[in-house]
């Protein structure tokens, strides 16, 4: 069966259909990672998006039971050059077409994904619709929908991931993980370090978080425009006064926004594993796992108490900030990787060391 991806600028890409047959409106983004399609498909940050894989062979090693980043796929659709029908890997339990069918992901293959990625690079990320025929009325209808509203609707409809605040191990460091659309690997990175992870949905009342008596707070990643989460700013400001705080990805953007900086929509975002980031303190570069379409505006940081701690080496995009009078910092990239390189895992160690330091003595704001 044929399937079409129609972009908002009128470009049409055709290919073979697989997975769900739903017709829908999405935001079209691309990732340059050569491995890790399963993690990408299930990463909640990609909620509501069509993921274009620039690597042409997707699905070679199938889908396994361990590498999901959320309980189910986050992307609405995947766009690929070629999908492997018979995967080969000892952990594989099914192929991508099987997975897509089972989990309601719309798929299209046989697409000139390089052409598409270049179009997104030059014209910026765009909305696009996936349709099973080039029916103009239907296409218009889909485009007429309010995408942001749709995201909210869809997330409601699906009862998207909520934290449970359950305590796993009484003795260890306790981190409250504020969930904006959490990627499993963040929780796993903490758990691997012996942390008690306390899940809280971002809409949770702050009192509940205080009651759980965490030693530190982590603002998770999540999908979409950070400004849509404006309601979280007061909570973030309160938490940073009381606990050591780390923000990752969307959590980083929200931390910056709450402290007075601004964010902007990037032309086509960073999605892939090969962006090197400069750590100003360490004076080192690390290859990072990236997936964001928004970024913190460098100029806007100047008027705040924030300080830039990390930047992307090619375009100098802000990749990390901190408050000098608090133990509170954030990074735009994913130190939890999955997929991607593990070079920046030290961010977790740095955060937990700060948490432990703070635990030794009563926490108070640093005089600066």
């Amino acid at each position: 069966m044929k399937r079409y991806l129609v972009l908002e600028n009128g470009s049409i890409y055709s290919g073979e259909a697989f997975g769900s047959n739903e017709e829908l409106l999405t935001e079209v983004v691309f990732s340059t990672g050569m491995t890790g399609y399963q993690e990408t498909m299930t990463d909640p940050s990609y909620f509501g998006q069509s993921m274009v894989f620039t690597y042409p062979l997707i699905g070679n090693y199938g889908i396994n039971l361990d590498d999901n980043e959320g309980s189910r796929p986050a992307v609405d659709a995947i766009v690929a050059k070629e999908i492997t029908k018979r995967p080969s890997n000892f952990r594989s339990v099914m192929s991508i077409p099987e997975y897509a069918k089972e989990n309601g992901v719309v798929g299209i293959e046989g697409v000139d994904t390089r052409k598409l990625a270049k179009e997104l690079r030059t014209q910026g990320s765009m909305k696009g619709v996936l349709v099973n025929s080039l029916d103009e009325t239907k296409i218009q209808e889909l485009f007429a929908q309010d995408y942001d509203q749709l995201l909210v609707e869809r997330s409601k409809k699906e009862e998207y991931v909520a934290g449970n605040g359950k305590v796993k191990d009484e003795g260890a460091v306790r981190i409250a993980l504020i969930d904006f659309g959490l990627k499993n690997s963040i929780a796993q990175a903490l758990e691997k370090r012996g942390v008690n992870v306390l899940h809280f949905d971002w809409t949770t009342d702050i009192e509940k978080i205080r009651e759980a008596d965490p030693d530190g707070v982590l603002l998770s990643n999540g999908p979409g425009n950070p400004e849509l989460y404006e309601a979280s700013y007061p909570m973030i400001l309160a938490l940073q006064d009381e606990y050591p705080l780390l923000g990752i990805c969307l959590g980083h953007q929200l931390f910056a926004l709450a402290n007075g900086a601004k964010t902007y929509k990037m032309k086509f975002g960073y999605r892939g594993f090969n962006h090197a980031v400069w750590d100003v303190d360490k004076q080192e570069k690390h290859f990072t796992s990236q997936n964001h379409g928004y970024a913190v505006d460098r100029d806007s940081v100047k008027d705040t108490k924030l300080e830039v701690t990390h930047e992307e080496i090619n375009q100098n995009t802000v990749e990390g900030v901190r408050l000098n009078d608090r133990t509170a910092f954030s990074v735009q990239f994913h130190p939890d990787a999955c997929p991607g390189p593990h070079d920046s895992e030290y961010i977790f160690d740095k955060f937990l060391a700060a948490v432990k330091d703070a635990k030794k003595e009563p926490f108070y704001a640093k005089a600066n």
Binding site: G33, Q38, Y55, L57, R114, F273, N274, E284
Partner: protein
């Protein structure tokens, strides 16, 4: 850290002659390094004994020394040039070994010279088995467990400790024989006992078996600030057990999930950081297909064949970056030369699939078993890029220029399924094709996987190809044709499958609009804008290669390095590009060899990485509409495309196609020779076995026989009588109308050759080379001397006259190579090649004439006088230059080591001096023949050559040489009145060879007779197989005390 300012002059060590395992990739990395250092403003001095390279061009370094790469000669260069530092890590193992020796000798310390790049200690740690194991243990990185056993009890104890399966390897057995895999106690007892028995030191290594593991490679870069990155990942399609140089390799890895990939990436980075590598490094790992268990196999602390492949596969120039890191720059201080907008601290992202297939020399070495193992046997490789695996794989296959250029099973038609299955393990050079044929005959992917352990992913892809063949055997529609092209089926193969001519498929494709597009290799998968002029074809929507407004010329490269078509042709290709650019045109290259300088995208204005087939060359012509095509620099591979390009109506620059055909068609050629009154050995050709016998009788034995249209004298032999002829014909079943054999009268005499430049009216001859070995030895395997001091003036005049006449008659425009036999004072024409030949780089260097560039301009319409070049033979300078061949026999078990009309050498070196003997000595030494120490000579199978030896042997004994001979040689020499008192037996010879006390073995026997030569190959003892080489050796080492003077290229 910015680049170092405390250094001014840097000596770069090149890798020397091309041998199996160390080939053109080091010309590429060395040239890149020199240019990168010059770019940074350093004065660059280069030493490399191999004259056939780009890197020994004067434009690459400030001063070039083509001198033997031994510490003795390099010390002279160092004392003369006084460099501040030496960069050895881009010259292969040769470079590293020399660096170690120079450091050990104390010279570097004495002169306060620094070694740049990765430190020696790190190199030793990576290369020494024991210290590497220790380091891995410290880092908690797993290596295959192993231990040495000297008796059965120890063997069993080790087996228990490590666990089965295991590999047993006896120490010091011939060709590593007597070892094997063992899976249980019973097998261990059998094989270990046998191994202990065979080993002269009663020792076996017992090692954990990782056969069947996936073999994964990373190319990694690190700078001194500890920034490290992965340039490329590669996965071998052949599981562990086949040398990666002999494996089919795909980049990036295909069957690793991110978790496995990142685990191995972490480990690779950890290791190179621990080793403190400064530059590029290759790391090989093995991964259990059923778990996360992996092993570190090997770390190569330098640029390598794999790094050349990785550079071409990703566009990331590893050697260039390594050179910059060596002088202190860091990865974030160097711009990514592909995008020019991003920094070199960047891990390339690919949006295509790259497949590399090795090119083997088994077509030249019929005696050598084509099985693959841990010893590399390939002489070269091809690479292809596609948007899916099948496409990349089929494009690579059609690039091979071998007997098998598609997946067709014709070659296996007579072999049973059972026999083919039996041949899958151990792997052979044509395993991939046998797998295709087995799948075609209904054997399941599962069964092939069980035998070979090859991943299902790859086997499925081969099955896809085979399955699609069926559709192409029936009537197919446009969509199926398009799908076939997407899967990489070449037009030629579609034609074969569907029973149509290739031209019909091409026409059909064009009519139906099934046309290729070209995509850019940009390191960034489209994420960043890039202006790299580096393209590959595929069948998809968007074409990214736009014809420029500037007029262009297309240069057809020479494809994979194989015996008879080596790096010399890449040299010519690169020079042609330079000449085209100087003339104000855009130069476009099409080539398929990832090892070479010509496929560096920075060399040409546009690079098409494509198979050198009619289809792909014409496709590029269709798009680029070049003013003309240059074929004369791509060797026979390019010449073979002439007819198709001509038919297409495209202008072939230089010598007309008609002239090429005239020179290659025996009948018309003979006619011309007669018309011009030139001498030629009696010759005939035959299209059947019966006719061959008849014609041989007419011509008169001995005859020289060969197939027409071949490279490097393939299938060429000297035949003494009809019985031998029958034997030859029995093997050469291909004799037919399409494939006649040529039969020449074999004339004994000295051979000589020349390359000339012609503008169609006048002829300039840069130089004549006289061969050292007499006729019967392939010109590529002969030693040769320039100027031709061993020829009389009369003979030289005859050659000049004959070649001038012939070039004029043929209407040659550009280069022509001509070979002669000097028989009884007359110069007989034996071969004419109206194109650049193997000797062009050598002659260009010694005659100081940029022959290829001149030929390019002549082809573009300039005359010799326009270029200020005088007709006639160019007078020689004061230096004598000797070219010597280099062989790779030690890599090829059972190779025929006797010099013969079929070419066997893989590379060449040059020795230069004001006198002949010293030039000879340097050439021998450069070729790896050590100067005599004990002055001990062993003789065997001297036969009738004893006559010519006697005088020289007398001189040698007078000069203190000890002679020992076999029974045969004692007798043969006795007959000519020369007494050798010491008789030596085979066992004694072997023992002495092991002890390294024999300076030279003389053995003129046929390969069957010459068991001693085989032993010499095994033990690394120098040997000669032809009388003239022996006489040259004697002359070369007459004076052992001569000063080791070195000369800059171009001196004298």
């Amino acid at each position: 850290m910015p680049k170092r300012t405390d250094l001014n002059k840097i000596l770069v060590i090149g890798s020397g002659p091309i041998i199996i395992g160390q080939a053109a990739e080091f010309d590429y990395s060395g040239s890149q390094a020199c240019l990168a250092l010059k770019e940074e403003g350093y004065e660059v001095i280069l030493v490399n004994s191999n004259p056939a390279t780009i890197m020994t061009d004067k434009e690459i370094a400030d001063r070039v020394y083509v001198e033997p790469e031994t510490t003795g000669y390099i010390e002279q260069i160092i004392r003369k040039e006084k460099p501040d530092a030496i960069l050895p890590t881009l010259g292969g193992q040769t470079g590293l070994n020399l660096a170690k020796e120079l450091a050990d000798s104390g010279l570097l310390e004495e002169l306060d010279i620094e070694l740049l790049g990765t430190k020696l200690k790190a190199i030793e740690q990576a290369e020494d088995r024991e210290s590497f194991k220790e380091l891995m243990a410290d880092l908690n990185e797993p290596v295959p467990a192993s231990a040495i056993a000297t008796n059965m009890a120890e063997a069993k104890e080790i087996a228990e400790r490590i666990g089965y399966p295991l590999v047993v390897r006896p120490a010091y057995t011939l060709g590593g024989s007597g070892g094997g895999f063992v899976h249980n106690d019973e097998e261990l007892e059998h094989i270990a006992a046998h191994g202990l028995d065979l080993s002269p030191v009663t020792q076996v290594l017992i090692e954990e078996s990782i056969a069947g593991f996936k073999e994964i490679e990373f190319e990694v870069m690190r700078d001194r600030e500890n920034n490290a990155l992965i340039v490329a990942s590669m996965e071998n399609i052949d599981p562990v057990g086949v040398h990666t140089g002999d494996s089919v390799v795909v980049s990036p890895t295909q069957t690793l999930a991110d978790r496995e990939f990142q685990m191995m990436r972490d480990s690779a980075l950890k290791i190179i950081r621990a080793l403190k590598i400064e530059g590029g490094v290759n790391i090989q790992m093995a991964l259990d297909p059923q778990s996360f268990n992996y092993r570190i196999i090997e770390v190569n602390p330098r640029v390598s064949r794999s790094s050349a492949l990785a550079s071409k596969a990703t566009g990331y120039p590893i050697a260039k970056m390594a050179a910059k890191i060596a002088v202190g720059l860091n990865l974030d201080e160097i711009k990514n030369p592909i995008t020019m907008t991003t920094w070199a601290a960047f891990e390339p992202a690919l949006d295509y699939v790259v497949v590399k297939i090795p090119r083997f020399p088994f077509d030249k070495f019929k005696d050598v078993e084509p099985t693959l193992g841990t010893q590399m046997k390939a002489t070269g490789e091809v690479m292809a890029i596609g948007r899916n695996f099948e496409e990349a794989m089929q494009k690579a296959v059609s690039s091979l220029k071998s007997t098998q250029n598609d997946f067709s099973g014709d070659a296996y038609a007579e072999i049973s399924v059972a026999d083919m299955k039996a041949k899958l393990m151990p792997a052979t050079n044509d395993r991939l094709f046998m797998i295709a044929e087995l799948l075609r005959r209904g054997v399941s992917v599962e069964e092939i996987h069980d035998i070979t352990q090859m991943d299902f992913f790859f086997l499925d892809k081969v099955e896809n190809v085979v399955a699609f063949e069926r559709k192409l055997k029936q009537v197919f529609d446009k969509d199926e044709l398009r799908r076939a092209k997407e899967l990489g089926f070449p037009d030629e193969y579609i034609a074969k499958l569907s029973g149509q001519p290739e031209s019909a498929i091409r026409k059909l494709r064009k009519d139906e609009g099934v046309l290729p597009v070209y995509k850019m290799v940009d390191t960034a998968a489209g994420e960043f804008e890039s202006k790299t002029p580096y393209y590959y074809s595929t069948y998809e929507e968007e074409n990214e290669s736009v014809k420029s407004d500037k007029p262009s010329i297309l240069v057809v490269g020479s494809g994979p390095i194989r015996i008879g078509q080596g790096v010399e042709f890449d040299y010519a290709t690169v020079h042609a590009v330079k000449a085209i650019q100087k003339a104000g045109y855009e130069a476009i290259i099409i080539n398929s060899n990832p090892e070479t300088v010509s496929t560096d995208f920075a060399i040409s204005d546009k690079l098409y990485f494509e198979p050198l087939t009619r289809e792909h060359v014409l496709n590029v012509i269709d798009l680029e509409q070049p003013e003309g095509v240059l074929l004369q620099f791509g060797g026979q591979t390019a010449i073979n495309l002439a007819a198709a390009i001509n038919e297409n109506g495209t202008i072939i620059l230089g010598t007309d196609l008609k002239a090429i055909d005239l020179a290659e068609d025996r009948d018309s050629f003979n006619h011309i020779i007669q018309k011009l009154g030139l001498h030629q050995p009696k010759a005939a050709f035959a299209i059947s076995q019966e006719e061959a016998k008849e014609k041989a009788k007419e011509v008169g034995y001995p005859v020289l026989i060969r197939p027409s249209y071949v490279i490097g004298g393939q299938g060429m032999a000297v035949i003494q009588n009809e019985a031998e002829l029958q034997g030859y014909l029995n093997v050469a079943a291909w004799v037919s109308n399409d494939h006649p054999v040529l039969i020449d009268s074999y004339l004994a005499g000295q051979e000589a050759e020349l390359d000339l430049l012609s503008d169609g009216k006048e002829v300039s001859i840069p130089g004549i080379m006289a061969h050292i070995e007499r006729s019967g030895v392939h010109s590529g395997d002969s030693m040769a001397v320039y100027p031709a001091i061993t020829l009389s003036d009369d003979v030289v005049d005859q050659m000049v006259d004959a070649s001038t006449k012939l070039a004029n008659e043929l209407g040659v425009i550009g280069l022509m190579n001509m070979q002669f036999i000097i028989h009884e004072g007359k110069a007989y024409v034996i071969e004419v090649n109206p194109r650049a030949s193997r000797t062009v780089p050598f002659l260009s260097k010694v005659t100081k004439m940029a022959m290829t560039q001149i030929a390019t301009w002549l082809s573009m319409g300039k005359s010799l006088s326009d270029l200020g070049i005088k007709p006639g033979l160019k007078p020689a300078g004061n230096m004598i230059h000797v070219k010597a061949p280099v062989f790779s026999f030690e890599k090829l078990n059972d190779a025929n080591t006797k010099l013969a009309p079929e070419m066997k050498s893989t590379g060449e070196v040059m020795g230069s001096a004001p006198d002949f003997a010293t030039a000879l000595q340097k050439a021998f030494v450069a070729a790896g023949v050590k100067a005599p120490v004990a002055k001990r000579l062993v003789l065997n199978n001297v036969g009738d050559d004893a006559v010519e030896m006697a005088e020289t042997l007398k001189k040698m004994t007078g000069a203190g040489w000890t002679l020992e001979a076999s029974e045969e040689s004692v007798k043969s020499l006795e007959k000519v009145g020369f007494a050798v008192s010491a008789l030596i037996t085979k066992d004694e010879v072997e023992a002495e060879m092991v002890a390294g006390t024999i300076d030279l073995l003389v053995d003129f026997g046929t390969n069957e007779e010459a068991v001693w030569r085989g032993m010499a190959v095994e033990q690394g003892t120098a040997f000669v197989s032809a009388i003239d080489t022996f006489l040259a050796y004697a002359k070369a080492f007459e004076n052992l005390d001569a000063e080791k003077k070195v000369y800059e290229l171009g001196e004298g």
